[in-house]
Symmetry: C2
Subunit: 355 residues, 2 copies
């Protein structure tokens, strides 16, 4: 087992992340709960409840709440159902909420943990690649509303994160690809050593651990998202817009994959990224079937990108790279205004390649 | 105008509190909004919208959202209505929410400010005595659920608090009493010099300012409510339970008034508080008509008190005083487990006195 200690904000307690195989079977979780002292409630999504949720609940003498998995369930309704269940169980401030599931599950349970009685203890056990390398790290919690994704939420740090790559062995291929897009993104913006590993297809554990380390290194440099943390949005200016256009019927990973190749194309087209590196990137995303959503139009894309959280004063900004493993700093902004004219050739290329 | 700078947590920005007459008419609020830069939205409750809300919205070129006042409106439904209105107005991360109203209004608007896009700027303008001396200070935000009061919320500090005692001149007497209970409470647990002022009935501005200073002094000593801040819950173990039983049809101040005399009785009965001081306390609460709510039963009271946030492992805990102006420390816990047997004589006394 490896242990990384994350220091999200200087003044706040550190968050230990435990990484290793079969961690749910050992004494780790029991010891953590004993240390925190309180009533344990496991919230497992349907994808992992049988067997993990049920087995863990028995072992820890914990209450068990199950919820459907997936982005479409990350709603106010699911939130309220969980809160009411906790009230009915008589859960007090000493409650320890354990979120066991994909990124949508850890996002929602994290949000409830942050507001239930103004905050109870939280332990995250991501069970998807996307959850492990992305959603569970950085303290962001959220639910969606009909107006958009992640529009209500808090920054709330768990007491611990347990990342067990063994849990991913039975992950369906589409779900693996969903997370792989974020892993490749970390490789593109920060750590080029991820790149050969991802292409080998083997060495999964090392790959996952490197992606986790990369994300932690970036958020620790910029806990309040005023600078370098923005590079995590590489591939997401286009990616989020595609997801919104598809009304979240498109997997996040596929949207980010298209976003990454398109924004790499943009980086090349604007003269930052060498053509050979772009070709290499395109090759790495070959396992994804890069298809634009049915409702895609260029006009719609421009309109939707304006709602991007990086947009300022009606201008779309985008993260760019100048080589595999390095995002451009742009004087501490880590993103650059892109005019419609500058987007045009990239859109044309994307429509041709992913149409 | 007086200005107190509150330091809620060492690492976080200070919160300025401006205290003085006719502050809404001057340049203060306009200057604050200019400094924060963003789209201003005023959320006013019906009790103050006409004229204050409308006048302010015009002066600041702000959007205006109005909501009913009072605890019964501090619900998930009102929260969702406000959030959806903000989404429809296209409010982004640069939004400045100004809460103008009683304690329920500032509680709810503060909660929405803390979760909307993971947090936007907030300015509090309490317009009731209760809001001014209690709800607006300390960063607690909350909504109620059918399971109890303030059960969902966050700790979220505003950019500024504006306390204008001139706004209270037209306050109905019942609403004044509603806040007076919290003022007297500060006198009981922390600052006995409030006591003679409150009984004179005059010197309102000094009284209000002292109560504000008292609350600030307590929260600054214990920003995360692990110790001395608990004394602010004096009168609230019983008070909150009565409010819940009455389904919030009972004014908070009246519930706290009954709670204060009952918990003073408990303090006496357990041998901490001299009888003469208890009699004096009882006298000070004479202006309140101390009546238990219709649904009161002793069984219900015990059951409801278990949901109190101070409860640990199914045991009710209560703050106690040993003289006017001093709460008992109990080795840093600032509250003590009270068994049902210990509650009995106080319940019997309360049922007789307030029945």
């Amino acid at each position: 087992m490896k242990k990384i200690v994350i220091q999200p904000v200087l003044s706040q307690p550190m968050v230990p992340l435990y990484f290793g195989d079969n961690l749910l079977e050992g004494a780790l979780l029991r010891d953590l709960c004993q240390e925190l002292q309180g009533q344990v409630v496991i919230v497992a999504d349907h994808a992992v409840n049988d067997p993990y949720g049920m087995v863990l609940a028995q072992r820890l003498h914990a209450e068990l709440f199950t919820m459907p998995s997936g982005e479409q369930m990350k709603t106010r309704q699911t939130q309220e159902a969980l809160e009411n269940a906790l009230f009915k169980m008589g859960c007090g401030r000493d409650t320890i909420l354990i979120a066991l599931g994909g990124g949508s599950t850890t996002d929602l349970v994290g949000f409830v943990a942050s507001i239930y009685l103004r905050g109870v203890s939280l332990i995250l056990i991501p069970t998807t690649l996307l959850g492990m390398v992305d959603a569970s790290i950085g303290g962001k919690t959220a639910i969606d509303t009909p107006f958009g994704k992640n529009l209500l939420g808090t920054i709330y740090h768990p007491k611990a994160i347990i990342a067990d790559p063994q849990l991913l062995k039975t992950l369906p291929k589409t779900e693996w690809l969903n997370g792989l897009a974020e892993v490749l993104k970390i490789g593109l913006i920060y750590d080029s050593s991820i790149w050969p590993l991802a292409q080998q297809g083997g060495g999964d554990d090392t790959l996952i651990f490197k992606a986790i380390q990369g994300k932690i290194a970036i958020i620790e440099q910029d806990p309040v998202e005023k600078g370098v943390r923005r590079i995590l949005n590489f591939g997401h200016t286009i990616g989020h817009a595609l997801e919104t256009m598809a009304r979240y019927a498109m997997p996040h990973g596929l949207a980010v994959a298209i976003g990454c190749v398109a924004e790499a194309h943009l980086s090349m087209q604007l003269g930052y990224l060498p053509k050979e590196e772009f070709e290499q990137i395109l090759g790495a995303f070959a396992p994804f079937s890069l298809r634009l959503p049915p409702h895609y139009t260029r006009h719609n894309l421009f309109k939707t990108m304006l709602y991007d959280k990086k947009s300022v004063a009606g201008k779309v900004r985008c993260v760019l790279i100048d080589r595999i493993g390095h995002a451009l700093p742009f004087e501490g902004q880590y993103c650059r205004v892109i005019t419609e004219k500058e987007w045009e050739p990239t859109c044309a290329w994307m429509e041709k390649t992913c149409g």
